[in-house]
Each structure stands twice: as C-alpha cells, then as structure tokens.
Amino acid sequence: MRKLLIIASIAIFIAFFLYVAINPGDFGKPAGRHLVFGYPKYTDMDDYFITHGQIFSAANNIVTSIVFDFRGYDTLGEATVLFAAVMGIASVLRKLRRDEE
C-alpha cells in the first residue's frame, strides 16, 4: 500500500511537470503563458540593473553588485543562516563530558 502510494505520487509529480516543461505551445515567442527556454517574459527589473549597475555601484560584475548592493538584505540573511548552521554543528558535535570519554 505504501509503495503503491509513493509510486503514484511520484508519477503524478513527474507527469504534471513534464507536461508543463515539454508543452511546445508558441515556441520562440517572448510572450505567452507557456514556459519557453531562452525567452523570459518579464525583464524590466533586470534590464534596469544591467544598464544602471555600473553607474550606481561602480562595478563591472552585475551579479556582485546585486548580491552586495541592490539586494544586500538577502546576503545578510544568508550569512546569518550559514552562521546558525555552523553554531548548530558545533553544539551537536561538541565534546562530551569527561566521564563519558
């Protein structure tokens, strides 16, 4: 019963997403409700970053200027997550008490 349930759920998952991924639709057109590789639909924000990134943050690498300047809060949270993970590992793998060694 459990194996049948797992197989059915995985099959439904793969079938649904393969339908979305394979669907030929209107291939090659920038707009439309289908997912087309190579033709993203909304690019206004990224075009703004590409054209203004060199003026505002004075860096050639647009990805770095987004990571550290335009979206600095994301990087702050990510650094906090890494710090919390390291603290968790240090508290899990800490040295045991003297009598247990």
Binding site: N61, I89, A90
Partner: protein, 156 residues
Amino acid sequence: MKMSKIVRTQSGFLYPFILIFGLYIVIHGHLTPGGGFQGGAVIATGFALVVVAYEYKDVRKWITANRLSLAEVTGLLAFIITAYLGLGSTFFRNWLANSGSIFGSRVPPGINPGNLNTGGVLPVMNLAVGLEVLGGLGVIIVYMLNYLKRGEESAG
C-alpha cells in the same frame, strides 16, 4: 589514517597555489566571475586537502577551531559594520562608490578592461564574506574530523 608520501608531498606543493587562487577570486570579485562565497569555499577546500592528506595531530597546532571561528565572527561583524556605515542615507548604501578615495574610482559605462580600484564597498564586503565562509566551512571540517577521531579512540 595517514596518506602515502606521494599524496603528502603533492598536497604540500599544491596548498599555497590553492590559497593564492582563492584570494585572487575574492579580490577580483567585482571584475571577474567569482566573489566572496566562491573564493572562501576554494580556500576552505585547501584546508580540507591538508587536513585529509596529513595526520590530524600534525596540523592541529595551526588549524584550530578557535582560529577559524574567530575568522568567521570577524567576517560577519565586518560585513554588518560596513552595511551600517552607509546609514547616513540607507542601510546597505554604497557609500564608497564614485567618492574618489580607496575603491572609489569612477568606472566608464559600457565595456571596459576593468580597474581594480572601483566598486565602492563591494571589495570590502567580498573580503568580509570570504573570511566568513572560509571560517564557517573550516569549522565544519574540523569539528567533524574531531568527532570521528574521538570515536576511533574510544572504539579501538
């Protein structure tokens, strides 16, 4: 768990080059592909190479969890302080860009060959995050190895 002489010699030969390569990736983060995370991960990989190739008690003197943890905390504090220093207008403002001082040269718009003295606070934050990531990954490696080593001693 000591590797053979060939592995130890080769790792001792490769280790400085890995460190220099990671430092290059960190410092040139605002000009070429790369940045703080990637460079810090490369340097931590060099630490892992030395720790695996040699016996751990040989490198315990200078790769300690305390030093790596200090590097991690220093990097995180430097990152947050650099972000706070832009608080004259907003949090995370790029207060060094186009200022004319260090890292403050004006960059010509469009395709250019690149100048290391640009970027404002981006190189500072790259260095801080690189320090934090190398400290964090190094602490993970050292703690896991310590735990495994204690298990071997108590079992055998």
